[in-house]
Amino acid sequence: MPSMNMVQAINDALRTSMRQDDRVVVMGEDVGRVGGVFRVTQGLWDEFGDDRVIDTPLSEGGILGTAIGMALYGMVPVPEIQFADFIFPGYDQIVSELAKMRWRSGGEYSAKMVVRTPVGGGIRGGLYHSQSPESLFIHVAGLKVVCPSNPRDAKGLLLASIRDPDPVLFFEPKRIYRAAKGEVPEGDYVEELGRAAIVREAESGKPSVTILAWGAMLYEAFAAADQAAEKGISCEIVDLRTLWPLDVETIAKSVKKTGRVVVVHEAPKTCGFGAELVALVNEHCFLHLEAPPVRVTGFDTPFPYTLEMEYLPLAHRILPAIVETARY
């Protein structure tokens, strides 16, 4: 199996699906000739041409609105929003149109597409190049939301997202675009949506804590867990992979085992996806909880330029939460 980084894996998934299915088109600001600001679509324009790899006007509303029309026609658009921070001028087309298309027509129409967009901080991008808006989409019924943490998942989940009959928001953690590397199966390779992965198991017999994380923060969870292990605390780490619909079962199973939960995400705490996770853990595992679930998240401020490493829920902030939870 070849080794790839996230950018290569996503590129590979796009290429694979475009070769398989000529209804798939890629569109967005500078996705064509130059292959996108992060070069994720590099080479696709050369292979598939101007009709299937389309440089669009600078308008997220226009990209998403016309992509919906394409989807109604039967194409499978994969629009790229250059940064998730710029999705909001097109937010109405997503939440009022895309999410509701199937439902409002009793299933007669649907608008299948995958909206790809880089999320997260850590690249010195400041407040408009760093946000993680997942909860603003999970709240809206009718959307699936995916966020991979490694190249293999990135490829498998993107191919699954493109084939899934429902619209998918595919959030790419830009901080690990090139840093996360690993083996990626060649050719057609699908990872089922809606399945979380236990990426580290808790050791039995030790005080243990479940960590729920995804995307770039997964690596911080690992780092914090390593440090916690030195203090005799064993962490079970769940990579959510698909944020919605959620694999509650896997989460509940882990929490029932450990009785303790730490949720990690970059987005601001309040009304972030962490709140939903805590609420679901309450619903599903109340009697197993030995400590209040703790959220380690971005602060309830916009995303800072200078102090982004203070803002992000990095290992040094996750560790005390693990310890606190374990010793509660």
Binding site: G65, S105, G107
Partner: protein
């Protein structure tokens, strides 16, 4: 810029001579005149009944198209078999023109168990996919870029499909309108963008939407063709839209066509079938009567037939029960996911 089409099917004074395509559109308008009249009459009857039903609280909503039928019917009739129409809420009638059974429209309006939307959508949003009608949104303007995307897809797939979006003057103020016309220009899509300018958005006059004299001239900002017609003149309206369709089908790009309508400010004491000189039924009736294709008696029969059809369909729609509560959870996703199965159990347990 295409030259303006005047209020009558005869060439406007000072206008350049019509090209072959426009001449053809004009001829086809005359051929379509009688069916057009009948469709307009039908929508008139339906809308009048719906206005009453809404006043009585029997339906939650209705967007009257009374007096604006020409723009709507012409859009639906000017579209070729393979073309798609993207109506706004007030253009619900387009689906009827294209063959959606009246019962389907009314079941949807009553949101009953027979409603194709399963009671999900408010009145005037009938799904009509098999008639190549796109789904209307409650959000003004939202469907316009979608219509452009649809035409763009057809172009990419090298299929001969034109899309027609119909929307109000208020919609021209939205970002969606800007995106739609701009993308249509840049990607030269086969789009006919029909603005039904009734001079009002809600209670606000058009002077609160734009400083320009016309909507048509906005086309200039996007490098697409434009036309302007009176919506009181059904044949001129058909001609302009049809010419746009033919032109778009030839790969010549998009047209923004403004249809100026004058719905009556109030229907109080108005003869519903001859409201004023602005009434598109009046003008078209005159042409048809002049040509011996319609007379008072034939129209009377037509009206009686339509009224009977509408009454029967309303009665049937009102008899149907409400949808089963479990239908609430259908169509959020292609399959009902676990969390909705759980939520469905909450209403099921009640049933």
């Amino acid at each position: 810029m295409q030259h303006a089409v005047s209020d009558s099917p005869a060439p406007a004074e000072g206008a350049p001579p019509p090209d072959a395509l426009e001449a053809r559109a004009r001829r086809e308008a005359l051929e379509a005149a009688l069916p057009m009249f009948r469709h307009m009459l039908r929508l008139r009857v339906v809308s009048a009944r719906m206005v009453d039903l809404q006043r009585e609280g029997k339906v939650g909503y209705h967007a009257s198209s009374i007096g604006e039928e020409a723009a709507i019917v012409a859009s639906a009739l000017a579209a070729r078999e393979q073309d798609w129409v993207f109506p706004g809420t007030r253009e619900w009638g387009a689906a009827l023109v294209r063959g959606l059974p009246l019962s389907a429209y009314l079941n949807q309006a009553f949101g009953n168990a027979e409603d194709a939307s399963k009671g999900h959508s408010p009145p005037d949003h009938p799904p009509a996919k098999s008639f190549r009608i796109a789904p209307a949104s409650g959000v003004v303007g939202a469907h316009v870029p979608q219509s452009v995307g649809f035409a763009w897809a057809a172009k990419i797939r090298k299929e001969d499909v034109v899309t027609l979006a119909v929307f109000g003057d208020g919609a021209t103020s939205t970002g969606d309108f800007h995106n739609a016309v701009n993308f249509a220009g840049v990607f030269k899509t086969a789009s006919v963008l029909v603005c039904r300018n009734n001079g009002r958005a809600g209670a606000s006059p058009i002077s609160r939407q734009t400083r320009t004299e016309t909507i048509a001239e906005k086309a200039i900002a996007y490098g697409v063709a434009d036309a302007r017609v009176s919506g009181s003149d059904a044949l001129a309206t058909f001609t302009a839209i049809r010419a746009g369709v033919l032109r778009a089908a030839e790969g010549k790009g998009a047209l923004l066509v403004e249809v100026v309508t004058h719905p009556e400010p109030s229907l109080e004491g108005v003869d519903l079938f001859a409201m004023s000189e602005h009434d598109p039924l009046v003008g078209l009736r005159r042409v048809l009567e002049r040509d011996g294709r319609l007379d008072a008696e034939a129209e009377e029969t037509m009206r009686a037939e339509l009224a009977a059809e509408v009454d029967a369909a309303i009665a049937a729609a009102m008899r149907a029960p409400a949808p089963n509560a479990s239908t609430l959870f259908e169509d959020v996703f292609a399959r009902v996911p676990a969390h909705l199965v759980a939520q469905r159990a909450l209403v099921k347990s009640k049933e």
